[in-house]
Symmetry: C2
Subunit: 420 residues, 2 copies
């Protein structure tokens, strides 16, 4: 018989019962995020973009500095690098996970490199352990863009406390708020305090910072931007995050089991030890067995009532499904800003006099990225999450079969459209 | 007898009946703002700061460019200039209105000047007609920071369509939302479309822009920042803006009548033809007749239950009344960032190689600004607005008299604190 805690014995609810001890609604979203991820510090901000900018600013990235990141991502990742006047240097991706390739990161490191900005694309964590080893070896800051992966894990450890600094987003993401918003997380006090200077109100900086080298800028609010927190109602989603994510994973496992058997479709790969939370369920299409394109496949599935998207090509679906696709989709390095290198005037930041080796962005730089975006198609989180269950997944599988059963008709449809 | 409109006659409700024709809740906040101000275009954004940044970006302000603005303002005005990598050049203010002095603007124009950023401080419009004449003569863009003045007027014309580009804010302002947020307004199509590139989602740019030189950047979301609209519930306040503002003006007129008679207190000046909407009711204190300082006056009034603040000294009250004042208050040019000129690394933007004449910011640069901030004290909008009425204003007047009747005790209180 164990001795009662009341009488001086060990508590029945010890460290293992963390969830029993937390009362998240009462401690607020920032404290709850720390509790959930294990990170020491969390700050809610106006968007995932704001969290990324905060991290890059905290890492000291500025004019003439290089940040190694991917061209295979939502624009905010790379936009954040431009926003702090640093130069994005693109590494290619692992064709299995769509995430940054650590071997290519190593090749891209130069004396100007200051940070690595990795993306947990579609909800599959980037190879953080390998990247942390590289970052530590070269004295770089590793920032994890976990905007699509706010409930995922590597080897049982929650994303949010794996890299030096992590960005979360609530806008349509695994932890959701209809108002948008996001947060940054870190266990590094210096990065936490510096990050406040990227766009917090003077009173926020004043209240949270302790470092005199940070406080001396408080009266200006740091860089003077305004990244005031929105979407803190994401708390409600955080409380259900585990059960919702795990149910989605079960649904996706079902999809994978069924779709694996179909020629021409490669379901998502999940690296051993990694928890893929399927913000997107991303497949690769091989037209060879069927004779029609990825875009025709998506059009046919959409017509059947299944939302299927080629994310890097048509990433505008999320807010304006009725609008025409953005013409210049594809990997980021091929878009206009990177070809002109002059959006900000006088070549800033690409051709800044502080840049030792002005970057040149060309088609062919990133063979894997440039191939993958033409073949990927994905199902989106809301269709994969509760209340959707196995029966709904079977409807998706049935729709795919219906489309493929009509391959000849689709070939003809495609040819007719091409000749118009 | 007029001919019925039904039978082809003129409408009874013509152009003069604009308010009768608008159905604001149905047309949305942006259209309602256009209707209210007469501006052709309005876009809701994440904050007044975001609106300012959007305007400066639209005006093409970037590395090496100078923006003439004031040091007598909330930090966001100047932070926005830094945010686009331009250099703030400070003009002094008119000691009557606390707004930028057009004569000093003329003196500060250089070949590098690209824009004038004027602030409607405390709700009194800046001298926009004079500034527009200067801007037109020199080919500059005039941006009006109307964040504190979103219901004011000059010569019967609403702020929002007076300068080339106008920024509104909803955060604690005359048109209010508890979520923060703001909007930019302009009647210049080029500025409107370019402003979208400062931080709108690709789909927003894609949906609203028509200029190929803007659309070519849409897929990156322009500079890649995220200024998604928040606080569009400000609509409810816009619908009541006139009645609320006019009631506040009546209250403030009452205060002015009563306080004018008191030695040592100069109530706000209102320039003829200008509508001061009293976001703050800002007075000047002269210690001579009473023998105690402005700060002691504020402490005494606060203790009596009247919120009185020295805005430029203690502008942190708004969000964290319990926190200690920010030490480095005062005009912006005296704060750390402008003394160090290196927040962004490598001297950016102040010492950028594209800057022809690196600025030096020194005490003594702006004699009026540097004098005024030591003497100003203000009452704040919520205490001056409905449901507060003349009786509440009389309570303020009574409290001021009570404090001044005890001048000797306050002199002693001040001396005791000074010797501690």
């Amino acid at each position: 018989m164990s001795k009662l805690a009341l009488l001086g014995g060990a508590k029945a609810i010890g460290e293992e019962g963390r969830a029993l001890k937390a009362n998240w609604p009462n401690i607020g979203l920032e404290a709850a995020l720390c509790d959930y991820t294990g990170a020491k510090y969390a700050k809610c901000v106006s968007a995932g973009t704001a969290a990324l900018i905060s991290g890059l600013f905290a890492a000291g990235c500025g004019p003439g500095d290089e940040v190694i990141t991917v061209a295979y991502t939502w624009v905010a990742t790379v936009g954040a690098v431009l926003r702090v006047n640093a130069v994005p240097i693109f590494a290619d991706i692992d064709p299995r996970t769509f995430c940054i390739d650590p071997e290519d990161v190593k090749r891209k490191i130069s004396p100007a490199t200051k940070a690595i900005l990795a993306v947990d694309y579609y909800g599959h964590p980037a190879p953080i352990p390998e990247l942390m080893a590289i970052a530590e070896e070269h004295g770089l800051v590793l920032i994890e863009d976990a905007c699509q992966a706010s409930t995922s894990e590597i080897n049982g450890q929650k994303v949010g406390n794996l890299a030096h600094f992590t960005a979360f987003s609530w806008s349509g993401k695994p932890i959701y708020s209809g108002s948008g918003g996001g947060a940054f997380l870190t266990s590094d006090r210096h990065l936490y305090e510096r990050a406040l200077l990227a766009g917090q109100h003077p009173t926020v900086i004043q209240g949270l910072a302790t470092d005199p080298d940070v406080l001396k800028y408080a009266s200006m609010g740091g860089t003077g931007d305004n990244m005031r927190a929105v979407g803190t109602d994401a708390m409600a989603q955080l409380m259900d995050a585990e059960v919702r994510t795990d149910a989605r994973i079960r649904n996706c496992d079902y999809l994978t089991e069924k779709l694996s058997a179909i020629p021409g479709i490669t379901p998502p790969y999940v690296r051993p030890g990694y928890k893929h939370v399927y913000h997107y369920y991303n497949c690769l299409w091989d037209a060879t067995p069927w004779g029609f394109s990825r875009d025709t496949l998506c059009s046919a599935l959409n017509a059947e009532g299944i939302f299927a998207v080629a994310y890097l090509k048509d990433a505008n679906f999320n807010f304006a499904p009725e609008s025409k696709p953005i013409e210049a989709g594809g990997p980021i390095h091929m878009r206009t800003i990177f070809q002109e290198r002059n959006l900000y005037g006088k070549g800033c930041p690409f051709l800044c006099p502080h840049v030792a080796n002005p970057p040149v962005y060309s088609e062919g730089d990133l063979p894997v990225s440039e191939e993958m975006w033409k073949r990927e198609f994905a199902f989106f989180q809301p269709d994969l999450s509760p209340p959707c269950d196995e029966r709904d997944m079977q409807l998706i599988v049935d729709a795919v079969h219906k489309v493929l059963d009509n391959a000849d008709a689709l070939k003809q449809w495609e040819q007719e459209r091409a000749s118009q």
